[in-house]
Assembly symmetry: C2
Homo-oligomer: 204 residues x 2
DNA sequence: CCTATATGACTTTCGGGTAAGTTACCACCA
DNA sequence: TGGTGGTAACTTACCCGAAAGTCATATAGG
């Protein structure tokens, strides 16, 4: 049986893995876990499906690898900023800036942790949970500080506000994906302008 | 061949259709288009799959029907509020209140128009586009007013802010879905508190 | 008896996953 | 220096289950 190109490319495993992960993260991030097909990832990477299974075991394994890569990247950065001494809105803006700088070349990464189509049980759910919790905890901590400054300690209010805050980051990331020409710096300045518009508008 | 109950229920088509649509909207809204199976909808409705195909033609047809139902509901309400004379943040809060009141019994409806797993081409995409555009246009109009009050007419700023605004509504709806015991009234009051916390925090 | 309502059982399609093999390269030895 | 065998990289062709979609038929009521 003739099998053109079988084994002829000779790309080292680690190189190939990063290449696959880069493409897979993008697909998962853009379309969500369920709507992403392994065959599509393979095709985009110019390789065959079994190679992916050989390296990552399963579709879930592939997703987990993406999560591990992106999750620590994002969570570490947020943690770094949380260790600083800014509080309230200022801390929020700093976090935004950090995310913009970090994800400029891979904006879709953010979506991995908030994919509603990912399995809700099993290893993936655990893995998502780890990072979503880590990010969520930090967000909640910052939000609680902000709310505390305003004299509000209501747990549900904090929970809802955290959800809103993550939603805002999510929206900005999605908008950024659709405006690839915008730099991280421009995004940051834009956010400052948006904030002033809100505050100014609410004071009237 | 014995087929128990075939044709014995005698439910008028229109009644059956609304019943199916109510269940389908919930499934599509909660799980997304891809993750929803027609068989599940049929089972939950206590009927067989072919009946759904008989009435709606295809899974996409079923989704479109849900969109038409939910889309006009939501868009009409937003339009109604937009015709009022409130502007800026106030108009935003009024719109939120309208959404809470309208969707209290069907909070998942909101998600139909922002489902990333829905097909991005074909009739569905068109249909989503119609309603997303209609809602998006109204949102953008309101946002532009708000930004104008703050002396900002930048088109990209307005576009980004619109995205953020829709993201906020989205977050609140999702949070609401996960807190079923919260009433529309409670949500509205919560939003007022959240807004004051943001404004207060930014003024420091 | 005709039509609307309804169904069980089937075919088709699609995507995750696998079996079995092919090619290239390198280390080792005569 | 050239053969050789082991291994890493890679492929085609398939399996299988789940879900979309269809067909032929059954029941009830005007």
């Amino acid at each position: 049986m003739v099998r053109p190109n079988a084994g002829t490319k000779g790309v080292p495993r680690l190189d190939r893995e990063s290449q696959i992960l880069a493409i897979a993260s993008q697909e998962f991030g853009m379309r969500g876990f369920t709507a992403t097909s392994v065959a599509t990832v393979a095709k985009r990477a110019g390789i065959s499906k079994p190679l992916i299974y050989n390296y990552f075991g399963s579709k879930e394994g592939l997703y987990e690898a993406c999560l591990d890569l992106g999750g620590s990247l994002v969570a570490d950065e947020i943690e770094r900023i949380a260790r600083g001494d800014s509080v309230g809105i200022e801390r929020g803006m700093e976090t935004l800036g950090g995310m913009f700088a970090l994800l400029e070349q891979r904006r879709y990464l953010w979506r991995l942790f908030f994919d509603v189509t990912a399995p809700s049980t099993g290893a993936i759910a655990d893995s998502i949970g780890v990072y979503a919790d880590r990010i969520g905890k930090l967000a909640e901590e910052g939000v609680a500080e902000l709310m505390g400054l305003a004299g509000n300690d209501d747990e549900l209010d904090i929970s809802a506000m955290t959800s809103v805050w993550l939603g805002i980051v999510d929206s900005l990331m999605n908008w950024w994906v659709e405006h690839p020409e915008q730099t991280a710096e421009q995004m940051m300045q834009r956010c400052v302008r948006l904030l002033t518009a809100i505050v100014g508008g609410a004071e009237q």
